[in-house]
């Protein structure tokens, strides 16, 4: 008997004013004691709903509509809340996605640990304090933070505290729901190392939910792939990497490449998951599937034992039945979708473009007055570099390294304390810090921005046509038909075709990738010389990141625009950038051609960043 047995579980959302939808459909799997199981899928695939259902934390209008969850021999599907309370945290605990909200902001960390420990164990007083110290040692946090409030901890520390809290009572099962989303790669890497070590030492079972197949493959023994509310593949991690069965798994695997290679290819899965409130005929992945055959659009593939695990795919099944010799050919390892290729040679050429912006010995000091003392924080120290037309420059560093401050100075939001930023525009050389009011507005027709979060950078109350028309009306004075034609042209440029289907849409009707493309179209509208892209892919699913990289890469070629690409992830910098600038604590520690920097990093910090890239291969 397994530790956790889920059989035929379905979760149904029945909102009052919408069509009901089955977010989780007939899911069956089990987790053995001490096993590390990964659950991957893109946003909207139902993985968080499944996790919530396992914890019995579903809220109206969601409910478990069928199936059962058996934990350690007890059926907890319909267990009463009072009995659940004994089980929760002592046997089943969890680390939620947002480290910000999971800790009570008005209570000291110690009290939150004490609460949990005293509720579920006989430890009191000094014994509890000792246990808390042990737990802090486990997650490698200094003891002085025990009496801190959550806001005094950094994001990474907070998530470690959550992890320690989850392990406080030595549970048998821990659910990790994207515990590192929103943290930068270095922190993510160290937290996951921590999880892996603790799991090996203490032997609790884990269900690790993530959209990032790289981290999941790194950690898990066995992997469940979820798509449109169903498990479409289940295999041991090594087998999944060697021989993925479902085309969707192949698509997810394709989002990783080796940054050190001369030529890097990454693929992405175009389109978006189906609307689960509508009836789906055939395989739910068929519309996005490059291996689709006629049968896929007719018959829903069942989850059958295959290779080292289970998969729900007609093609994979036929290929294996025929032994690779029949009409469906050999099983493929790769996803035949659109791909994005970057070669080393292109970068060499890009470094010959005209310089459009010079950052010359720039420093930025923030002063903060607190009572009688004045605090100086140096966010950027003596930074110098240039941006060229037709070139992508990546600014790489952890959060707090000063990369956003640099971006703010380049876009004219802040001005440098010392040093100069000079824009070599059509009106000769101008210092950016001197722009105010009218001239700042004019400067921004040359410098545009792409934001991190595509969900908040499109006005939810406006149609896309309006969003894209505004910069054109303001800077180019376009009106009427000319304006409409140009808007449609922009939508076509970012591959939102046919354009007339998108003009009257609202931002929230699009997927994250589509939204980010609209934001890029808006930045392109005024034909700027420089686009500052502030982590444009970090809030998108790993599986669709290449889509945005490909678009940005193509624009540099065709529009001769210079891109300043700000990121904490060296892999994406490798895919897009010709030159890379590594920033640590406000100081440029390394600068050079991307491939050269990645292959032979000179600085210790650059090496840390490179090591933090999840590398499943």
């Amino acid at each position: 008997m397994s530790l956790l047995d889920v059989s035929d579980l379905s979760v149904r959302y029945e909102p009052k004013s919408h069509r009901p939808l089955d977010a989780v459909q007939h899911v069956s799997f089990s987790i053995e004691a001490g096993e590390f199981v990964g659950l991957i899928g893109e946003s909207g695939s139902g993985k968080t709903t499944l996790g919530t259902a396992l914890l019995r934390l579903l809220q109206r209008p969601g409910r478990i509509s069928a199936g059962s969850i058996t934990f350690d021999g007890t059926d907890i599907t319909h267990l009463h809340e009072d009995e659940l309370r004994d089980l929760r945290w002592r046997d089943i605990s969890t680390v939620f996605q947002s480290s910000m909200n999971a800790l009570n902001p008005v209570t000291r960390v110690e009290a939150q640990f004490r609460d949990v420990i005293e509720q579920h164990s006989r430890l009191r007083g000094e014994a509890v304090t000792t246990r808390i110290r042990e737990l802090f040692d486990m997650v490698i946090i200094d003891h002085r933070f025990i009496s801190a409030y959550p806001h005094e901890l950094s994001g990474g520390m907070r998530q470690r505290v959550n992890l320690a809290l989850a392990l406080a009572l030595e549970p048998k099962f821990v659910l990790l729901d994207e515990p590192t989303t929103g943290l930068d790669v270095v922190v993510q890497h160290s937290i996951l190392e921590n999880v892996r070590r603790l799991q090996a030492e203490q032997g609790f079972a884990v269900l690790f939910i993530s959209h990032d197949i790289g981290t999941v493959l790194d950690l898990s023994d066995r992997i469940l792939v979820m798509y449109a509310g169903r498990i479409v593949e289940e295999q041991p991690a090594a087998a999944l990497l060697r021989d993925p069965l479902h085309p969707y798994s192949k698509g997810l695997l394709g989002s990783y490449g080796d940054p050190r290679a001369e030529t890097v290819r990454i693929t992405y899965v175009p389109g978006r998951p189906p609307d689960l409130s509508l009836e789906i005929r055939g395989c739910s992945f068929a519309p996005r599937c490059p291996e689709r055959i006629a049968r896929c659009t007719e018959v829903d593939p069942p989850l059958l034992p295959m290779a080292a695990g289970r998969a729900a795919c007609h093609v994979a099944q036929l290929q294996r039945d025929e032994g690779g010799a029949g009409e469906h050919g050999e099983p493929k390892r790769t996803f035949d979708g659109p791909q994005f290729v970057k070669t080393a040679e292109e970068s060499t050429q890009a470094l010959r473009g005209d310089v459009v912006l010079t950052v010359d010995h720039v420093s930025k000091v923030f002063t903060r007055r607190r009572g009688l003392t004045v605090q100086h924080t140096e966010a950027v120290t003596d930074a110098s570099f240039v941006l060229r037309k037709g070139e992508v420059t990546a600014l790489v560093g952890q959060s707090g390294s000063g990369k956003s401050t640099l971006a703010r100075m380049i876009t004219g939001v802040d001005s440098p304390t010392t040093g100069r930023i000079v824009f070599h525009g059509p009106n000769g050389d101008q210092e950016v810090a001197g722009f105010r009011g009218r001239s700042l507005r004019d400067y921004r027709s040359n410098v545009q921005m792409v934001f991190q979060d595509p969900y908040s950078s499109i006005n939810p109350a406006k149609r896309l046509g309006y969003v894209l028309a505004r910069p054109l009306a303001n800077y180019h004075g376009l009106k009427g038909d000319a304006l409409r034609d140009r808007v449609e042209e922009l939508l076509e440029t970012v591959a939102l075709t046919p354009a007339d289907r998108f003009v009257n849409r609202y931002g929230y009707e699009l997927s994250g990738g589509q939204r980010q493309r609209v934001v890029i179209a808006k930045a392109l509208a005024v034909e700027p010389d420089i686009i500052v892209a502030d982590e444009p892919i970090s809030s998108l699913d790993v599986s669709i990141r290449a889509e945005i990289l490909e678009l940005l890469g193509g624009l540099v070629q065709t529009k001769d625009v210079g891109i300043l690409y700000i990121t904490h992830d060296l892999l994406s910098a490798r895919m897009l950038a010709d030159e890379v600038i590594v920033l640590n604590n406000g100081r440029i520690v390394e600068q050079g051609q991307t491939l050269a920097v990645i292959r032979s990093p000179q600085d210790a910090y650059t090496r840390t960043l490179i090591e933090a890239i999840p590398n499943p291969f």
Binding site: R444, N459, S511
Partner: protein, 310 residues
């Protein structure tokens, strides 16, 4: 850089065509605002009540049996087929006064609420958007002063000293004494919205500050504005009636407040003329209840979590 956006599988045949088409969901479309308001039972009751009042007010000349100022009836008559609710001490028809009175109340409610909302919008939005600057300091100071000044004595003074005492004066006085709370709420709301990326994006599109505030940000808080309007209108109706009861109303027209004032002045209660006192108060109370009910529905607009319980 070589990009291969479409491999061969995408180019072949009809079924592959569907793949290259960008898929857009329609499930994410939120409900229309009237659907949301109507989905609440309380709001439905409120809408029906207020609609009845509006219809009666608009068609008052058709609905009312007599001219409200016609004093040719027998004074102090009881309820009868001719005078549905009896007559006053000076021989006017109470039912007709009541029906015509709804016009004043709704007029003051509509325009008083509208004016107060507009003032609070302009002051609250501008000061919130300019948070931390001298503009915000000045506007916040004005708002705070307006909040702490006792409204009723101010209204009484303003009305008592003004030369004309028409409906529009009442509307104006009510509006300028009741906008402050709304301005505060809108200032708080815009502070949460103004740091969103779409506002920065609008700056990069070269939008003017006025346009950013009123065209980009305001549509995102329309439910708050609507709720504030309904609240302000409710308050204005109550304030108008209150003023009229105190004898500060428009003496040329009939409203529920002036009816109560007359009734009180003529000692209606001591004479046992219950209908005269009771009925204007009752219709006023029902109207205000109806408007409060509508606000339950408007609340659902700004807080989708409430929709499941409605």
């Amino acid at each position: 850089m070589t990009t291969t956006p479409a491999k061969d599988f995408m180019a072949e045949g009809d079924s592959a065509q569907a793949l290259t088409l960008e898929q857009v969901s329609d499930a994410g479309r939120p409900d229309r605002w009237w659907e949301v308001v109507w989905s609440s039972r309380k709001a439905r009751v409120g809408v029906v009540i207020v609609s009845v009042y509006v219809i009666v007010a608009v068609f008052a000349p058709l609905v009312a049996p007599h001219d409200p100022l016609d004093s040719t009836f027998t004074p102090l008559a009881g309820a009868s087929g001719d005078n549905w609710l009896g007559t006053t001490t000076d021989g006017r028809d109470i039912a007709s006064q009541l029906i015509y009175g709804s016009r004043i109340s709704l007029l003051v409610g509509l325009f008083g609420g509208l004016l107060a909302t507009i003032i609070s919008l302009v002051i609250g939005m501008v000061s919130g958007y300019a948070e931390g600057t001298i503009v915000d300091d000045i506007l916040s100071f004005v708002t705070n002063v307006a909040l702490v000044i006792p409204a009723l004595p101010l209204i009484i003074t303003l009305v008592a000293y003004s030369e004309v005492r028409g409906v529009w004066l009442i509307v104006f006085v009510i509006a300028i004494t009741s906008w402050a709370g709304g301005a505060r709420a809108k200032r708080a709301q815009i502070i949460t919205l103004r740091n969103r990326d779409f506002v920065t994006a609008a700056k990069f599109s070269g939008e003017s500050t006025t346009r950013i505030i009123f065209r980009e940000i305001m549509p995102n808080m329309s439910s708050l504005v609507a709720a504030a309007f309904v609240g302000a209108a409710t308050g204005a109706i109550g304030a108008e009636a209150g003023l009229a009861v105190l004898g500060l109303g428009d003496s040329q027209s009939v409203s529920w407040g002036t009816m109560l004032y007359q009734a009180n002045a003529q000692g209606a209660i001591t004479q046992g003329l219950w209908l005269w006192v009771f009925v204007p108060g009752l219709v006023l109370a029902i109207l205000i209840t109806g408007m409060s009910f509508i606000n339950f529905g408007v609340d659902l607009l700004s807080n989708p979590h409430l929709r499941e319980d409605a």
